[in-house]
Each structure stands twice: as structure tokens, then as C-alpha cells.
């Protein structure tokens, strides 16, 4: 698998200040495959995406995209790298002061010098691909959450990227919108042949569409495998995550530094 | 469509700005005679310039014809030398007289020019020889007080009679 890897993280460690987020993580995303990274909230999944897009830089290790180390790119190279990358943000992050049309046209206008008529055709094509042709004139505030997510997807694929990054694409959507987005992600990935990374904690929907799954916990890769392997995994940790149980290998309680008695000011035993 | 209305508004906005600046420079400020071809300078010596300041107006028959551009002390004769920059369209004869006047009782001081009868005009750099100094209020009051006191001492015995 590593011979055909498009994105590769090698022994990457990252910390915000003193707080370690990722420790010695290695993973690969093969060319043209859709890979999910799952884990609890705050497990460092989103940081992984930011490392790939170059928004944050690894303190140790290498982030290789198509053989190039993102951490060593000049800012010009980094912008070049980002131009072949599309990212779908958690809540879409549409530009609220631009119409739907201008939102989708934004990356095309910024990075190409195409005539307006061609931009119009491209935008309509992308909107058609997400099934929302006819909404060009609306403003983002007039869209439902699911529609905004699909417009954001159209914007992310406007320049036919080689890499797609999805940050929690299913959060806060009703089941129908969720199904639509999942279907679109799968369909677009197959049609465009992009290598895609999806960060999510929605297990069931993700397992239906992805090719490979990494589980991240405590800044490390806890488990990995194809969706089938994950479903039948014997690991109690994976089982807890897939079944959504409250307590298990992942503890319900936050690891407090004080005992409960101490926190309540009952000093008898500890003092 | 939406964009062109924004352009229109911004155009209007800039036009308002230009109009405002034009109003300020033409109607509010005095467009002082510009240095260069359309002005010429004269000098005038005064024994005492009182409170005359640089930029004070130079008037003839009440019309502003120029500005005082420089004031200095001539250390040979110990008189004040004022340099006047006048608009070229106003020419004055060689025997023109200059006096320092006050606008109102407490107003600003300015130089008044009174045209003479000489057929030749003053040229740039010439000096006005006929000058009269500023009235200094303290001196005026001083003179008035002395004359009042003198008058009073004459009147006093007369009144008692």
C-alpha cells in the first residue's frame, strides 16, 4: 500500500504549547482512495487535516504529499500545494457576504483568468454536481444547513482538486441531508479520482462509504483497517466506539488531578 | 446589477468629497496669491510694526492686494523691514505710502497702501519710502494720560472758583 501512497505521515508529533495533541503518528492515504480518521472529540483528528493542508506544521516527523514535505515548503510552494487541494469545513464556512454563485466562483476567479461566461458554465456544472442548480442567486443565510454544506462542497471541488479534505462533514445534519452528503462524497471521489481524507465521528455512515479507517485516540493511532475489519474487530476499544458505549477502555470521567474528596475540601484522608 | 449601483454610490461619494474640498479651498479659505509669476515683492521699513504678523493682509482702499511674507529687523538702522508680496494685477506708483493700521479697536493689524501721483510704478524688489508706524496702544494711552493730567491741572483751579 505504501508504494502507492499519495499522502504519508511519518512519525509526526504535534503540540499546542505544552499540550501534546499528536504523538508519533504514522499513516498513509493511497492515491484515489477515501480514508476516514475517526476518534472522540479532542483526539487530534482535525489537527491531522491541518497538518496536511499546511495550516499548522509538525514539530517532529514529516508530512509528505505526493513526495513533498509540507513542513518544508516555502509559502509560495504551500500556496501552490493548496491550489490542488479542496477542503470542506465543518459548517461549510461559506462567505456570508457573497451569493451562492460568487462563493462557488470564488476559487476560480482568484486562481484563473477565465472569461466570465466560462466561469458561469463551470459554476453551474459544479452546482449541478451537488444537485443545487437554481440556487445561484441565494445568499448563504437563506440556505439550510444541508444545502450550505453541499454548496461548500461545490466550492471545494471548483478547481477539480487532487486532494479532498473533509472536516466533520456530517455534523449537525438531519438524516436525509447526511445521507445526501455521504452519497455525494462517495460519488465525487469515484468520479474525480481524488485522494480524500475525512475526519468524522459518525461511524455508521462513514463505514458505508470509505475504503480505509484509522482510529485516533490519545494522540496515537489506536486501530486501523477496512470497514469490514473494523465491524468485526475484537478490540474492545473499537467495539466501544462503534457501539457508542459510555464507559469502556475510553473512560467516562476526565482524568482529574485531584481526588473527589480533595476537590470537595474534605482533607482528612489525603492530609 | 448590484455592483453597478455600488460603483454609482462610491462615485457620488468621491464627487461629494471633491466638492467639499473645493468649497473649503474657494469659499472658506482665502486663496493667497501664489508665489511665482503672478506676484511681486516690495519692502517697507517701519520704526515700529506694533503687532503686525507674517501673513497679515496688505490692503489698498480696503481691498486685499497681498500679504506680508517676511518681517525682519534691519540691524544697521534698527528699523523693522516688512516684505510684502503683492498680486501682479495691482501696480502702485513710486510715491505710494504704507501705514500699519488696525481693524477695529482690538482687531488684527494690516498694512494699508495709499496710491500716490507718480506716473512710474514700483517694480519688484523696490522699497516703499513713505511709511508710518503702527499705533501702539500703550504709547497712545500714555500720551492721552499725560495730556489729560496736564489738562486736569489747568482745569482744577478754574472749577473751584
Amino acid at each position: 500500500m505504501s508504494s502507492d501512497s499519495f499522502i504519508e505521515l511519518k512519525n509526526v508529533s504535534f503540540a499546542y504549547g505544552d499540550r501534546p495533541i499528536l504523538q508519533d503518528i504514522s499513516l498513509t492515504i493511497p492515491r484515489g482512495k477515501l480514508v476516514a480518521i475517526m476518534g472522540g472529540s479532542g483526539s487530534g483528528k482535525t489537527t491531522l487535516l491541518r497538518l496536511i493542508s499546511g495550516q499548522v506544521l509538525a514539530q517532529k516527523g514529516q508530512v509528505l504529499v505526493d513526495g513533498q514535505d509540507v513542513g518544508r515548503m516555502s509559502s509560495r510552494d504551500l500556496y501552490q500545494h493548496r491550489r490542488r487541494m479542496g477542503m470542506l469545513f465543518q459548517f461549510g464556512a461559506l462567505f456570508t457576504d457573497l451569493s451562492v454563485f460568487d462563493n462557488v466562483a470564488f476559487p476560480i476567479r482568484e486562481h484563473t483568468r477565465l472569461p466570465e461566461s466560462m466561469i458561469r458554465d463551470l459554476v453551474l456544472m459544479k452546482l449541478n454536481a451537488v444537485g443545487l442548480r437554481g440556487t445561484e442567486a441565494l445568499m448563504p443565510a437563506e440556505l439550510s444547513g444541508g444545502m450550505a454544506r453541499r454548496i461548500a462542497l461545490a466550492r471545494a471541488i471548483a478547481l477539480d482538486p487532487q486532494i479532498m479534505l473533509y472536516d466533520e462533514p456530517f455534523t449537525g445534519l438531519d438524516p436525509i441531508s447526511l445521507g445526501t452528503i455521504a452519497l455525494l462524497i462517495k460519488k465525487l471521489n469515484d468520479a474525480l479520482g481524488t485522494s480524500a481524507v475525512m475526519v468524522t465521528h459518525d461511524v455508521h455512515k462513514s463505514l458505508e462509504i470509505v475504503d480505509h479507517v484509522y482510529f485516533v485516540a490519545g494522540g496515537k493511532i489506536a486501530a486501523e483497517g477496512t470497514p469490514d475489519e473494523v465491524r468485526h474487530s475484537s478490540s474492545p476499544w473499537v467495539q466501544q466506539f462503534v457501539q457508542g458505549e459510555a464507559d469502556g477502555p475510553v473512560h467516562f470521567a476526565y482524568p482529574a488531578t485531584q481526588g473527589l474528596a480533595e476537590a470537595f475540601g474534605i482533607k482528612g484522608e489525603t492530609a | 446589477m448590484k455592483r453597478s449601483t455600488i460603483d454609482l454610490w462610491v462615485g457620488l461619494f468621491v464627487a461629494i468629497g471633491i466638492a467639499a474640498v473645493t468649497f473649503l479651498s474657494l469659499k472658506v479659505a482665502n486663496l493667497t496669491p501664489q508665489s511665482g509669476s503672478d506676484t511681486y515683492t516690495l519692502t517697507a521699513d517701519f520704526d515700529n510694526i506694533g503687532g503686525l504678523k507674517v501673513k497679515a493682509p496688505v490692503k489698498s482702499s480696503g481691498v486685499v492686494v497681498g500679504r506680508v511674507t517676511k518681517i525682519e529687523l534691519d540691524t544697521k538702522r534698527y528699523v523693522a523691514r516688512a516684505t510684502l508680496t503683492l498680486d501682479k494685477q495691482y501696480q502702485f506708483s513710486r510715491d505710494t505710502s504704507a501705514e500699519i493700521l488696525t481693524a477695529g479697536l482690538l482687531g488684527e493689524q494690516y498694512i494699508g497702501l495709499v496710491q500716490g501721483g507718480d506716473p512710474d510704478n514700483l517694480a519688484s524688489g523696490d522699497s516703499i519710502s513713505l511709511t508710518s508706524s503702527a499705533l501702539v496702544l500703550e504709547q497712545l494711552i500714555g500720551k492721552f494720560m499725560t495730556s489729560f493730567a496736564e489738562k486736569g491741572s489747568q482745569d482744577a483751579p478754574a472749577k473751584t472758583e
Binding site: S53, Q55, Y79, Q80, R82, R83, M85, M87, F89, Q90, F91, A93, L94, F95, T96, D97, F106, P107, E110, H111, L165 | R3, I6, D7, W9, V10, L12, F13, V14, I16, G17, A20, V21, F23, L24, S25, K27, V28, A29, N30, L31, T32, K55, P57, V64, G104, L106, G107
Partner: protein
């Protein structure tokens, strides 16, 4: 001991924080200047922001200017009349406006009307990940979002200040001539005799240009630096108005000392 040290410690932390922010804002200013190419080459971006910052401030500037001028006319007349020099009202109104009140009040109004709006807008764009989305799309948010707003502020401020001056002088005229009954000719001629184009008018406009730069720099910086939450954006907006007001007044003192 601690009770004594804590306030000192807090004061120290506060000053260090202030200096840290000063360094940050200077670096940000340089970044804006370096990334200004796009806002000049694609001037439409800047025009759009001139609309929001300048055109939409017209009403408040016109109305406030008129009222400030009317108050100046009334108060000035009352004071001048005591010394028998009510004729100088035109000069008083024009000079106070051109040198101080016009640039300063217009800048204060601009900071609370447009500066706070800029901060809130950029802060919300940050909170909703729009700035990050832009940067992931390989578009520099400083060049695309911040710099056009900055230049729009720099362009709008002198225009607004000039308009404020004109409205103020008209307000003074309304009160002095139309209401109190001074002679219109005296009003204007006193003004023209005492107002100098370069010394008063141009210097006032230069002042407003500096104020425009200071206010918009503070506004875009606070927006860009805002904590990306609702509370963070609201406190950044407050900081914009407070900091702008202080900067305007301090800068006014420095510029006045330099110019007049």
C-alpha cells in the same frame, strides 16, 4: 506580601501585554502594506469596501456636522458678543472645525460606525472559519479581506472629514446669519481673511488621513485578532471603539504639535 505584590504583578503583565500587542499590530501593518497589491490592482474590491465604510457613513456625518456647526455658532456667538467681536463668528466656526473638530469628531464617528462594523465582520468571518477557508483555498486573507478594508478606510476618512467641515460651516452660517442675523458678507469675509488654505485646510485633511489609517488599522487588527467566539467578537468590537478613540486623541495632540 502577596497582597502587595499582586497588583504590581498584574500591572506588569498588563504592560507587557500592551507592548506585545503593539509589536503585533506593527507587524500586521507591515503585512497589510506588503499585501496591498491586490486591493489596488483589483480596485473593485476596495470600491466595495468604500461603499460600506464611507457611503453608508454619509448620513451620520452630515447630520452630526450640521449640529456641531450649529452649536459652535450659538456658543461662539454668545462668547464673542461679550467682547463685541461677534463679526469674527465665521472665522471662529471655520477654524475650530478645520483644525480640530472636523477631523477628530469625524474620526470618532467613523470609528464607532464603520470601524466597529469592520471588526465585527472580520471577527465573525474568523469565528465561522471563513478566513481559514480562504487561506486553505490559497487566497491570502490579509490581501483579500483586510487590505481592501484598510485602504477603503484611508480613502473614506478625509472625504468624510471634509464633508463634516462643510456641513459644520453651513450649520454655523444657519445659526449666525439666518437665526441671529449677522451680516452674511461679514461672516464669509472674516472666515476668508483668517483661514489659510495650506495651513488650516490642508493640514486638517492630512490629520484626517492619519486618523483614517489609525482607526482602520485598529479595526481590522482587532477583528483579525479576535477570539473566534461570540463573546470574543463582541469584546473585540468594544476594544476597537475604545482604542480608536484613545489613539485619535493622542495622535491629534502629536499632529497638532507638529503642524501648528
Amino acid at each position: 506580601m502577596n497582597a502587595l505584590l499582586n497588583p504590581i504583578r498584574r500591572l506588569g503583565a498588563l504592560s507587557i501585554n500592551a507592548i506585545w500587542r503593539l509589536g503585533f499590530i506593527s507587524r500586521f501593518f507591515v503585512a497589510i502594506l506588503l499585501n496591498s497589491g491586490q486591493s489596488l490592482l483589483r480596485f473593485r474590491l476596495t470600491i466595495r469596501e468604500v461603499y460600506f465604510a464611507g457611503v453608508l457613513s454619509l448620513i451620520i456625518i452630515i447630520v452630526s456636522g450640521l449640529f456641531v456647526g450649529m452649536v459652535l455658532g450659538l456658543q461662539g456667538y454668545n462668547t464673542l458678543a461679550r467682547f463685541g467681536s461677534a463679526d469674527a463668528l465665521g472665522a471662529l466656526v471655520a477654524l475650530s472645525l478645520l483644525r480640530e473638530l472636523g477631523p477628530v469628531l469625524a474620526a470618532l464617528l467613523f470609528a464607532s460606525r464603520s470601524g466597529s462594523a469592520m471588526t465585527a465582520e472580520i471577527g465573525l468571518m474568523k469565528a465561522t472559519e471563513q478566513l481559514e477557508a480562504m487561506s486553505v483555498m490559497a487566497v491570502n486573507p490579509i490581501a483579500r479581506v483586510v487590505a481592501p478594508r484598510f485602504w477603503a478606510g484611508v480613502i473614506s476618512m478625509p472625504i468624510l472629514a471634509a464633508l463634516f467641515n462643510v456641513m459644520g460651516i453651513l450649520g454655523g452660517y444657519l445659526v449666525g446669519v439666518e437665526m441671529i442675523g449677522l451680516d452674511a458678507g461679514t461672516f464669509w469675509s472674516q472666515m476668508q481673511n483668517n483661514v489659510d488654505l495650506h495651513y488650516d485646510v490642508v493640514n486638517g485633511l492630512i490629520k484626517s488621513l492619519f486618523f483614517g489609517m489609525a482607526v482602520t488599522l485598529v479595526a481590522v487588527f482587532e477583528g483579525y485578532d479576535a477570539t473566534p467566539t461570540a463573546a470574543g467578537v463582541s469584546s473585540a468590537t468594544t476594544r476597537t471603539v475604545v482604542t480608536s478613540a484613545l489613539v485619535i486623541l493622542a495622535l491629534d495632540f502629536v499632529l497638532t504639535a507638529f503642524m501648528f
